[in-house]
Amino acid sequence: MSSRIAVAVTVNGQAISAFVEPRTSLADFLRNDLGLTGTHLGCEMGVCGACLVLLDGKAVHACLMYAVQADGQTVQTVEGLSESRAIADIQQVFHERNALQCGFCTSGMLVTAHEFLSKCQDPSRAEIRDALSGNYCRCTGYEAIVDAIAETARGRADRAGIPSQAEQAAKSDAEETPS
């Protein structure tokens, strides 16, 4: 057996020091050692997206890295994002839109949606589908998830007073059309 290695990592704002076996995935470390079971494990090979977390602010698969690789870095799981209310509006709309049924894929969907919406404020449905290409859902058929992300984006833009692309286009059409 290989010896355990010291890891220092900040998880959801909390500094954690632990000794881990090198082969322990970040996902297993979060779930088994820290009890953060919101990070789900489906395929354990990077295909389903259930295990997504933020590493130094970027979405990554917790099944595709070992806990030792996260040494010195910052991890946010769905629990942390939920408690900080960073994704409160996405969660609310997922609920309203029935964007989850069994909920297995949801933590990964939320992490993807969070990163995507931080980069793309006014996405088209095609862009949303593209962003979700690495997240499998076996229940919803995706339509409600795309709806929820589109609605969250609109809600955020409304609150910030930014007109959507569609609204801008309608406005410029109206201006160009002599009445």
Binding site: P22, R23, S25, M45, G46, V60, L64, Y66
Partner: protein
């Protein structure tokens, strides 16, 4: 499934990595982004005694323009191909290919060095480096050497890298005025490995394509240049007849193998469709417009 137990060493320099490699007599793997290696260990396709983490070696980082070559450090992540202004300006073909590489979260971790070293026949970047006439900078205990992309990809997951060597950077002749780059692929879903894909970089002179390099992925054990198709286009304006000639010539360039989902004939057909689309786009370059008039 879980990986078999292994020792883990984090190398802080190339020298460090080579020493660790020698210590376990090569029963080890270098770990970069881990997006191919980790699943392979989980599936127990590989079970090395040690992983040598090279992801924190500074010498493998950075994108710089020097000696009229763009040098892209091996640890440059796929996601950076989409956001780096240097890539956009000096190697736009890489930027065009990047959205087709896996999914956003995998692009956040996967490195170009890992993709080149792995040489998956369905990977986008190896084919792109062929179209770009790139060369690779390779470090070993004895020092640095350079190998052109042309001679690097030898077969299925087989490259010119010797055991223990580390790919340090990719060097690319920068994009110049008159150059034109196009990339596309046919895949069942965005992010899936392509059924067939291709990248083209061409140089336009007047209304003609002066020269071009066409590289295909997913049509054989290694990425491949379509030299007969190139010859059918070079020196000509991109008329429908020239494009049809290039599509016909592909038969002499590509020899796809039988696979359970796609017959060789279908793959060749799809390669022709793709080539037609890409050459059409290459011809949309303002300088080529005359060809259609």
């Amino acid at each position: 499934m879980k990986a078999r137990a292994f020792e883990y060493v984090r190398a802080s320099s190339l020298q460090d990595a080579f020493e660790a490699f020698a210590r376990v007599s090569g029963d080890c793997c270098y770990l970069a982004g881990g997006q191919s290696l980790v699943p392979s260990l989980s599936l127990r396709l590989q079970a090395p005694a040690m992983l040598i983490d090279i992801s924190r070696i500074d010498e493998l980082r950075g994108i710089t323009l020097a000696d009229d070559m763009l040098r892209i450090g091996a640890l440059t992540r796929h996601a950076e191909m989409l956001t780096s202004p240097e890539i956009a300006r000096h190697a736009p073909l890489l930027q065009l290919a990047a959205p087709h590489v896996a999914h956003p979260a995998i692009r956040n971790r996967g490195t170009i060095g890992g993709a080149i070293a792995l040489a998956d026949p369905a990977a986008e970047f190896p084919a792109v480096t062929l179209a770009l006439d790139a060369e690779f900078e390779i470090a070993g205990p004895e020092g640095l050497r350079r190998v052109r992309a042309e001679g690097f990809f030898k077969g299925l997951y087989e490259t010119a890298l010797e055991p223990g060597e580390i790919l340090t950077a990719i060097r690319i002749p920068p994009f110049r005025a008159g150059d034109r780059a196009v990339f596309d692929e046919l895949a069942r879903r965005r992010g899936d490995y392509a059924i067939v894909g291709a990248g083209i970089q061409g140089r336009v002179a007047g209304d003609r394509i002066e020269s071009l390099r066409i590289a295909f992925l997913s049509v054989g054990p290694a990425p491949i240049r379509a030299r007969h198709a190139e010859a059918a286009v070079a020196g000509h304006a991109l008329s429908p007849a020239v494009i049809a000639g290039a599509q016909a010539a592909l038969e002499r360039d590509l020899d796809p193998a039988e696979d359970p989902q796609t017959s060789p004939a279908m793959r060749l057909h799809l390669a022709r469709v793709l080539l037609g689309r890409l050459l059409g786009r290459l011809g949309e370059h303002p300088a080529c417009k005359g060809a259609h008039a």
